[in-house]
Symmetry: C2
Subunit: 594 residues, 2 copies
Amino acid sequence: LLSLSSLVCSSAAAYMDEPNLSKSFLPHYEPDHGGAVDSSQDTRLPVFTVDYDYVQIPYEVTLWILLASLAKIGFHLYHRLPRLMPESCILIAIGALVGVIIFASDHKSPPVMNTSIYFLYLLPPIVLEEGYFMPTRPFFENFGSILWWSVLGSLLNSFGIGLSLYGVCQIEAFGLTDLNLLQNLLFGSMISAVDPVAALVVFEEASVNEQLYMVIFGESLLNDGITVVLYNIFIAFTQMHRYEEIESIDVFAGFARFFVVGLGGVLFGIVFGFVSALTTRFTHNVSAIEPLLVFMFSYLSYLSAETLYISGILAMTACAVTMKKYVEENVSQNSYTTIKYFMKMLSSVSETLIFVFMGVSTVGKNHEWNWAFICFTLFFCLIWRTLSVFALFYISNKFRTYPFTFKDQLIISYSGLRGASSFSLAFLLPVNLFPRKKLFVTATLVVIYFTVFIQGITIGPLVRYLDVKKTNKKESINEEIHVRLMDHLKAGIEDICGHWSHYQLRDKFKKFDNKYLKKILIREHQPKSGIVSLYKKMEIKLAIEMAESGMKISKSSTASLESGRNRRVRRLSAAEVASMRDVLAHNLYQVRQR
Amino acid sequence: LLSLSSLVCSSAAAYMDEPNLSKSFLPHYEPDHGGAVDSSQDTRLPVFTVDYDYVQIPYEVTLWILLASLAKIGFHLYHRLPRLMPESCILIAIGALVGVIIFASDHKSPPVMNTSIYFLYLLPPIVLEEGYFMPTRPFFENFGSILWWSVLGSLLNSFGIGLSLYGVCQIEAFGLTDLNLLQNLLFGSMISAVDPVAALVVFEEASVNEQLYMVIFGESLLNDGITVVLYNIFIAFTQMHRYEEIESIDVFAGFARFFVVGLGGVLFGIVFGFVSALTTRFTHNVSAIEPLLVFMFSYLSYLSAETLYISGILAMTACAVTMKKYVEENVSQNSYTTIKYFMKMLSSVSETLIFVFMGVSTVGKNHEWNWAFICFTLFFCLIWRTLSVFALFYISNKFRTYPFTFKDQLIISYSGLRGASSFSLAFLLPVNLFPRKKLFVTATLVVIYFTVFIQGITIGPLVRYLDVKKTNKKESINEEIHVRLMDHLKAGIEDICGHWSHYQLRDKFKKFDNKYLKKILIREHQPKSGIVSLYKKMEIKLAIEMAESGMKISKSSTASLESGRNRRVRRLSAAEVASMRDVLAHNLYQVRQR
């Protein structure tokens, strides 16, 4: 922790020199930078010189990333801490600490977390990772419930919270009468963006049943997109409201836009996904840049969608889901590992940075406290989430073979943690349209802190206490073969019955995929069967595991020899030869069975 | 190529909207970005909107990277092309094409390749990759020759070319009399920065002998650093020259600075390398961010060094060399793969981008043609390199057990390809100090084009024609054990003789390393022997290869079944089961021998 605090100080010091936000993040692209050119005062040739402006942006970005990484390492250094609370709590706390240091030394609000940084650079890696590692099959098996819950749940929460708060604002004693209906609705949409990463981590640890996991996962995937769209529509309405009345045609346009933004985003993503898959077909001689194509094409889909004001989040998710299958068949094993782990790394760093930034941005002068508004916001957030969960799942359960139990619904409603999305949207509010932006920011932060700290820490024990249905799914070739057989069987039965459902749909898509898509997108001479490629993956995983476990045996034998080291040169050499003989004896099977 | 040209057009179109360089690369951090806020003219709610400004920077960066990647893919699509010419030729040509398109449509110089972008973002990945993958042992075995050649060779070339050109400038008929000695010396230092990547690729393919390879490799590693330092010193002198005379104390300060910059950089890098290695000791629970630490710490070393005006290139190289050994022992296998391949990817993309940018920047109005200056520059570049090679190796050969043959020296002098460093330094010249900057830029570009195209294309045939001594080094456990034994033996013999050489030095360092450094920097319970970890690496490599070759057998059997697919559901299923049985029969040994 010593190294951590020293880094915090150095990073804080970096900011003290540069209290101005806009300057701090503007690059200095001086075409004339050339060594000691600027030192025209001192005409002697200097042996030392310092030029901080030149490297400022990359330097500060690097320092922030390192601070976040070290905070993460520090958190995981002791095994107890990760069991007690989610990572986000500590990261926010550290961020707040840094914020306090900067604030105390400078008496200005710390100059971090610009919203365009969030939406352009920090969010995409997280969205990409979620989309890319989405378990496709269970997602589409629960697609109906997921769509039903994320779309209607978000809408119900947004409007519910917005309208209830508008009701509260009518009470004059609270001093909130200047907040009109539109502003309240906008705040409702903003505060409905949930970020259940912490909940998902708990679910994975407790290995809860798949359908519960998938509903929360799907919500985390779609909810952001939906609330951002709602938010933008409300902003546009507020804008219009200043000049003229909102007519019914505008409300229709709003609905139209909702669909354009959502479906357009998905379509966009699919197109980019196919283009990206097609490109990786031709990279067999330049496998070094394969990971880059995956990252760049998905980022391009996000940016292009954002340019056209359609949902970048949905575009990127769709792009990742589409390309994944084909890209994985095309790229080399090493590129596959690089893509996988680099994606996880990027997303993990983004997440860490976001929480740290959130902590930093908490400190400052941009707050307005209003007991009534803040308490009611918190209350309505909890109430409306619970209400919408029980109402919507009551309906959707009627159409499901395996209904969501009462316990499941309780867990879903409890996992409505708020995070960076709400926070960024609050900071994004234009002050000229929202004179009480500070109140909104404060209320959002209170809700985030409450849900992350209180709910985040207690959801683990709650899941364990309620003892929800567990899953015991494991990946195996045997299961994969049986699942496939059952798929064909069910599709056949449905064909005979004349019943049309997702089994049929999947069967049709698979045929189309095999007949056309795979032929276009996947390299020739690649195994075209999903089973074969799954088998390949597992075979390689097994091989690596075996090689590593072989090493573990040898490791222990090496460790015992350590004490005998460090004596004399000849002895050392002999000990190593002995160790080598030992290792060879353990692992010779590899050579033998060739 | 169709998709390529369409991308070129779209990218060019992106620039046509934005002809202003400085604006094009300045970010638009509008804190008020929020959906349709800006469309205050049209008060109806728009269903579609476009906001390009918001995403401009990341969008254009992504497009450039994609353009470069696609150019690379296109180049490697046909097997013949890479044998005919180095990649850089095609990339420069494509860049020039893009430049012509932008120039023709806009009548302005294309707005790319800002030098601070080069030094802050494009160069570091290449330096890191070179440093990280440097073969440590042969490098330090040939350290004397490498240092001798890179330092003295660079100095000899810089001063030789500078002074000769100054002589040419004295002839009034050429119209160059306004170029003074300092400006010529500066130009000499700039044009001496070689970039022998293309030569290294050829050497690797032809597997030339190790010492030849290492000298060129070492030159590529150190030469950049040295010429940049010289360049900065000359810039500072030119600056001073405007106000007063340069005194002998300044020349001494220049020499002092030369050492401060060089040795300071190396020291800086070593410190950062140790810190980075120490940090990875504690990442066992957060292995996802291990690659990040490697990248961030080495980048930080580069930036910190640049801030203090000491050589960032040398700092980063030293950092990479220092950390590599310990980091590789600490991080997980997956992190290791990710670090390795992501580093290669980043460096490959940087290189590609640099060449494309170089092509783009060729086109424009910033040229001045002077036959005499340009021809003499080219002539002196060739002459001085040949002279310095033969002179310096004549001396160093007297101290070597295996001298560099005449053929080796010929190849070394022919591999003096110029590249991005010279080019960036030329663009970096401050116009107020160098009124004839345009002439320098043009001359530099001509030298680059000549060496890259003429020498780059012919060096492959030349190496093959001269038939230089080949190497047949292969990595194997057996060899490693014998080499170690020989090391200890030689150190022992030298100990007895009382002779002090690098065997002794290495032995002393190894003892120190084992006794202190490894204990501090490497995690506990890791195999501490280099042989064991090498064995582990090779074992895993073998395991992956075996799993993949097992798949190749199965692949062919799957391919033969493809014709039998696409018939009916039942058949398909049966075929797949059969294929599975086949694959299992081929690979069951893995399960059996467990």
